[in-house]
């Protein structure tokens, strides 16, 4: 119970800091929108091709925005060596990890209601409110799958000058299953699911989320303790 209370305190603290430093959040949102725009320019005016690639473009926009958000999240912890201050407190390293991973996930989930409608308009996708809700649900699963290892790697690379390069290099290969699962599932929601495959892809996505959240939580303790 004590760990849960600590996680809740850390999440609340992160969301408050995120709200106070809105320019950071705004830059991530704008980066996501620009990415979606660039994909539409790259494909051109072929609306069928845009529709076919919509799910992939949306998930890639999430992935690219997530690296920006994750590295920025840990930069905050190194201002005034605040992370060291947390390590001096009687806080379980597990609470530190899950607090940070949870606030990163929530932040990425908040991108969905903005980026999904933009993608629907840009890629001429025929999607009603129910479809949008389903896409946002799958986006949440994808965000969780990206945040779990992303938080771990952001912690590992946060003190390095080459963090901006290293974080995607470490993260991208590891999250391929999440990328595949979420693209397939969102494509089925947007384009129809005649073979009833959606549930299998959703379960796969959920299973990878569980694996990543468990493993990263265990590994984070070592990252933090070796880092001091």
């Amino acid at each position: 119970m004590r760990v849960l209370g600590q996680i809740a305190t850390l999440v609340r603290k992160d969301l408050l800091l995120e709200w106070r430093g809105r320019t950071r959040g705004l830059s991530v949102v704008l980066f996501g929108i620009v990415t979606l725009l660039l994909f539409s320019f790259a494909v051109g005016p072929d609306s069928a091709a845009l529709r076919a690639g919509a799910a992939g473009f949306l998930v890639l926009a999430l992935l690219l925005s997530s690296t920006l958000a994750l590295s920025e999240g840990f930069r905050l912890e190194h201002e005034n060596h605040a992370l060291e201050g947390l390590l001096l407190a009687p806080v379980e390293p597990m609470a530190l990890y899950y607090g940070k991973a949870l606030s990163n996930t929530l932040f990425l989930i908040l991108l969905a209601p903005i980026l999904t409608p933009v993608a629907v308009i840009l890629y001429a996708v025929d999607a009603g409110p129910a479809t949008l809700v389903q896409v946002i649900g799958l986006w949440a699963l994808a965000a969780a799958g990206l945040s779990a290892p992303g938080t771990l790697f952001a912690a590992m690379t946060s003190r390095l000058r080459s963090q901006d390069v290293l974080l995607p290099l470490l993260l991208f290969p590891l999250v391929v299953p999440v990328l595949l699962g979420s693209v397939k599932a969102i494509a089925l929601v947007l384009g129809g699911d005649p073979m009833g495959q959606l549930s299998s892809w959703t379960v796969l996505l959920g299973a990878f989320d569980v694996i990543y959240w468990t493993l990263s939580g265990v590994l984070f303790t070592h990252v933090v303790e070796e880092g001091v």
């Binding site: 850390l10 603290k13 905050l76 806080v91």
Partner: protein
């Protein structure tokens, strides 16, 4: 429970090939106060960081109230607190929110009124709802000291507690440390303010190039070293 608050044997810390601390044997009794002196780079901050469990020793052992600050990290965190020249503050949080976060993370139940009283003790009540990003370094230092009041540790490590403070701030922090010593908290202070701190601390230890060069009563320390300009 151990009779020593701090005990280290043959303690050493190496960065690359350079030993910044070597062969440090130290024992501080419960409730005692120790002043760490030495020139810049003599190893004072490194010693405090190793004792606080923020840096692993490369050689030797450390025990805080009989516990290893690394293998028994969580238990030790409840016993010690550190005030460093690093503020450990989040610039985006207000002074009051900062105290609330520390209290909640430490698992200590504080009513809002009690936290306000703490702010009053360090003359920060008028700045209660201002983000600490706008605080001067003296205000930050005073706020950081409150952490030790919230956590109520048995052992406090202070690294240059008087740095960046005006005369009023220095007096406030001195009174603060003196009160902790009076209350029986074990206090270790690394400082260049020898005359001021030797009035508060009972014992002193002079470090030179990472090794103990002299150890004795704090009152005798000023005669052992040149006064800083």
């Amino acid at each position: 429970m151990s009779s020593s608050a701090i005990r280290c044997e043959s303690l050493g810390r190496r960065f690359g090939r350079r030993w910044v601390l070597a062969h440090v044997d130290l024992e501080v009794a419960r409730g005692d106060s120790l002043l760490l002196a030495g020139s810049n780079g003599s190893g004072k901050t490194t010693l405090l960081r190793v004792l606080a469990g923020l840096s692993r020793p490369s050689a030797g052992t450390v025990r805080i109230l009989g516990r290893d600050p690394h293998s028994e990290r969580l238990a030790c965190r409840r016993l010690l607190s550190m005030v460093s020249h690093r503020s450990y503050l989040y610039d985006g949080l207000t002074a009051f929110e900062t105290l609330r976060v520390w209290a909640r993370l430490g698992g200590v139940a504080y009513a809002d009124g009690e936290l306000e009283n703490l702010l009053d003790e360090v003359a920060l009540t008028p700045h209660r709802d201002l983000p600490v990003g706008g605080f001067s370094s003296g205000m930050r230092k005073r706020l950081t000291l409150l952490r030790t009041r919230i956590e109520k540790p048995d052992v406090i490590f202070l690294d240059e507690p008087l740095a960046a403070l005006d005369s009023g701030g220095k007096k406030l922090v001195e009174r603060w440390i003196a009160r902790e010593v009076e209350h029986g908290t074990t206090v270790v202070v690394a400082s260049h303010a020898i005359p001021r701190m030797s009035r508060i601390c009972r014992r002193a230890l002079l470090l030179e190039e990472g090794q103990i060069a002299w150890e004795g009563s704090a009152a005798d320390l000023p005669s052992q070293m040149e006064e800083p300009a």
